[in-house]
């Protein structure tokens, strides 16, 4: 792999850009691999990358039914934060956030990580208490957050309306090291690094069956033929239930549509991410100037990547009260992605009832921010066959034991 650098740009400028190579290869599938990962989104590619980097396992195929990063990796609102209440969540999301800080250097690929700060507005008395508690918990966990006053909120985000009649801003949980990153670049950067390690990224290869013998996984049937493997990792946001059915077990998950939208581009007016969980809306401004807006998920099972219009309406209606400046903006695009919602709204990184088959899913509405941490923990699980400290609390067994990671109470909807 030729490294990207300022020198490389100068070199290529002198020879009319004829020397750039493909970022990743498009190989034909081999008959067998040590590890097959289903799903070449952020989480799947990160799993592959850390399998190679941390454990030296490079005989890996990443199988993708569509195109690389074309699912939720390309559909989220790119927010990165780790201000969680519960210790297991804070640990894995903070691991992810810290890996994002060095990701561009690590991958030699500019993921445009922008630690611009994330604030979660407290708009009710309950939220004030809840976020103060979270700030104290974060102090113990070593996650830098603080509870800030309305005046400080206004200072950080001047376009905000503090004294709205229905949703006054009473304070906020502020994580200055949170922010955003370029979501596609995360997938592309991991893919380039994986391809460089000799891993096979097989796009437009849909898995239709999981092959097994004697309770152990032996491979997968794909649209390009059978592929054998010693270990199988299912990392398919939104479609975990479909793959689990192929593998012969059920998951504590349901799939629903989550929507986002962007406005026409305007001049820079907001250099932080603001989340308002009471009204189910969050907003940031992209480098292009578009206001990026996310809302709540639909309540019913859905695989169509289309959501209900009234959810968009509710989100925008509420955000207009908090940000009167957006009331005349035209919205350019709106789209949906399918998220796996687990019983306790926390993810699953776990062994499964099928031997040597592992699952990483159920990230619900919080998948993008966790990509590197999820990949790190999943790679350890796949390589060793047992979860490490990061993944252990997120096992499937917690639903039988009643040992939930009950984050939804703390984080509201935008979790």
């Amino acid at each position: 792999m030729r490294r990207y650098s300022a020198f490389a740009i100068a070199r290529e400028a002198l020879r009319f850009h004829t020397g750039w190579e493909r970022a990743w290869a498009a190989p034909e599938p081999k008959a067998d691999y040590d590890v097959v990962i289903v799903g070449a989104g952020g989480h799947g590619l990160a799993t592959a990358y850390y399998l190679g980097k941390n454990y030296g396992i490079t005989n890996v195929a990443i199988v993708e039914k569509g195109w690389l990063g074309g699912g939720n990796t390309g559909r989220n609102t790119t927010i990165i934060r780790s201000n969680y209440l519960q210790d297991p969540s804070a640990a894995i999301y903070e691991k992810a956030r810290s890996l994002y800080e060095t990701m561009s250097q690590d991958l030699n690929y500019n993921v445009m990580f922008s630690p611009r700060g994330v604030m979660m507005l407290a708009q009710t008395e309950h939220e004030i208490r809840g976020y103060q508690r979270t700030a104290h918990a974060n102090a113990l966990q070593g996650v830098a957050t603080e509870f800030i006053s309305p005046a400080r909120v206004k200072e950080l985000c001047p376009i905000i309306e503090l004294s709205g009649p229905r949703y006054p801003v009473l304070g906020a949980l502020w994580q200055p090291r949170g922010g955003t990153a370029r979501h596609d670049a995360v997938a592309w950067g991991y893919a380039r690094a994986c391809s460089d390690m000799g891993m096979h990224i097989l796009q437009k290869t849909e898995v239709s069956a999981v092959l097994q013998s004697g309770g152990q996984v032996t491979g997968v049937t794909t649209s390009k033929g059978d592929i054998k493997c010693k270990k199988l990792a299912i990392v398919v946001a939104g479609n975990s239930g479909v793959l689990a059915e192929m593998a012969g077990f059920r998951l504590p998950m349901e799939s629903a549509a989550l929507q986002a939208l962007v406005s026409e581009p305007i001049k820079p007016c907001m250099d932080v991410v603001v989340m308002a969980n009471t009204v189910h809306g969050y907003m940031s401004q992209s480098d292009k100037g578009e206001m990026v807006i996310g809302g709540g998920a639909d309540g019913f099972n859905n695989y169509t990547q289309r959501g209900s219009f009234h959810h968009v309406e509710e989100t925008v209606r509420a955000l207009i009260e908090t940000f009167p400046i957006i009331s005349r903006l035209k919205m350019l695009r709106q789209w949906g992605g399918i998220v796996d919602m687990t019983g306790d709204r926390s993810p699953i990184i776990s062994k499964t009832p099928l031997g040597n088959c592992f699952i990483d899913g159920g990230w619900g509405t919080g998948g993008f921010k966790s990509i590197p941490g999820s990949g790190w923990a999943m790679a350890e699980l796949v390589a060793k066959g047992e979860p490490g400290a990061l993944a252990a609390p997120f096992g499937l067994d917690r639903f039988k034991e009643g040992r939930f990671i009950d984050e939804s109470v703390a984080a509201g909807v935008a979790h």
Binding site: P252, M253, G299, F300, N301, N302, Y303, H310, F399
Partner: protein
């Protein structure tokens, strides 16, 4: 936007009038059940990409619960029926089979 006909009051209601209630016809294991039965009842869901039987409540209308059969991959609604049954009516199952010959059945 989803349109479901409430079998209780006969009104064709749009989604903003309705509240989704999740998968229908789940066996409700209670006291004395095994851990795995109870876990399955509480958490495990079919979550199919295809035909799904589910519960809805006509929250902003008559307030009553009912059942619906819907496709999660196309949002097509096959029909709605009473909440007071343990499985979908046969005519509805036949109707779905006609439309989706490769559906594995209820």
């Amino acid at each position: 936007m989803l349109l479901l006909t409430c079998p209780n009051c006969g009104i064709k209601a749009d989604e903003t009038e309705l509240h989704p209630g999740g998968e229908a016809h789940i066996t409700r294991h209670g006291a004395g059940a095994s851990d795995s039965d109870f876990e399955g009842y509480l958490f495990h869901r079919k979550n199919p990409k295809g035909v799904h039987f589910e519960r809805w409540r006509h929250a902003m209308g008559c307030g009553k619960w009912f059942h619906a059969a819907r496709a999660t991959d196309t949002l097509e609604v096959f029909g709605t029926y009473s909440a007071q049954v343990f499985e979908p009516p046969n005519d509805l199952i036949e109707k779905i089979k006609l439309k989706r010959p490769d559906w594995e059945g209820f």
